[in-house]
Symmetry: C2
């Protein structure tokens, strides 16, 4: 399967399609057209067909896609046919919001360990998981076979947190701290900057005005 | 200025470049090459030049870009040469994380009003802003000339929140609830799904394995 040149925007849309297919499947609908998917998520039918075409032929012309099959395929492409063990580091407001974010568990991202250095937080239980001190991170994350680390610590602690996650053997890091992190090339790194979302909006508002 | 066909990925990178330029400017550096920017943010120099080329010629060949000029230009492109008045609706963990998110204020996104329907939250003051009941939203957001609404309420209340924000006259809505919202075409809508970020990572991890 050729998957190396898939644009990230396509991956993001696949993720959106799969959410829509979950809903459609729940309603008991068996087949769906690219037009139906397009309408459900607000993109063009041509875009849906183009995105799915990256991964081979799923549908039958004139009939559409089998909902369950297509959904299973997309989940597999996204790496969601398995659960992922996630370590969350940093239990500030954002960390707390992430632990209670339903979307993670629904998609198979299971927070199996939580770390913070605040003595008031260590030992408390959040969503069924005990908060541990950060100096336990490497040992615990290794023992849990943690695959993904989420960094929600203040910027000045982000690099040392990343180093510990790498030492623990994670395959991927999602970083919410607004700093550039250095990780070895074998570790996937993604930075989330919440303000960027607002900037895309204000750019678009400005474009309309001019 | 032709700005209609700019890919969103370019806008997101401009946002990243501008953060880097803030740092560079703080260090007192006067000129910068596309290679320096590229290295600072982890993309290729050709990508930097291509992104900037959408908006005309900024640099001087062999000399590079004037840091302050380039920074000012990018901020203007992103709509950040002004402050934006923001209403935040929903004071759960995510709402609380967003009110204390430093990146918003730094970039000129000022949360001027906060709404929640929980009587325990109404009347409390968060980061200097009093939490008000949602039935005050239209009136208060209008009075504040609010331009952007952030929806951080549970999914089942997201559409009615969007309707109120539209009635209040916002130009743009950032939606964190995992539902498709209907807004009039003149209102910019952007959905943030935190799980999508993890899915891009797991897709990439899967691609490496295969």
């Amino acid at each position: 399967m050729k998957t190396l040149k898939i644009p990230e925007a396509t991956i993001i849309r696949l993720s959106v399609y799969s959410r829509h297919l979950t809903e459609v499947d729940r309603k008991g609908i068996v087949t769906i057209s690219s037009g139906d998917i397009a309408e459900g998520v607000g993109v063009s039918p041509a875009q849906v067909r183009k995105d799915l075409a990256y991964f081979g032929e799923f549908g039958t012309r004139g009939v559409g896609y089998n909902v369950k099959d297509l959904h299973r395929h997309i989940l597999k492409i996204l790496g969601l046919s398995q659960d992922w063990s996630v370590s969350l580091v940093g239990m500030g407001n954002l960390g707390l919001a992430l632990t209670t974010y339903k979307g993670f568990r629904e998609r198979g991202f299971i927070i199996t360990s939580i770390f913070d250095n605040d003595p008031k937080k260590v030992g408390t239980v959040v969503n069924g998981v005990e908060v541990m001190p950060v100096d336990k991170l490497v040992e615990v994350a290794k023992a849990n076979k943690t695959q993904i680390g989420i960094i929600a610590v203040p910027s000045q602690f982000a690099q040392e947190t990343a180093d510990k996650l790498v030492e623990a053997g994670v395959q991927a890091i999602l970083n919410f701290a607004p700093v550039v992190l250095n990780v070895p090339p074998e570790v996937e790194l993604r930075n989330v900057d919440l303000a960027v979302n607002l900037e895309v909006l204000t750019f678009n508002v400005g474009t309309r005005r001019s």
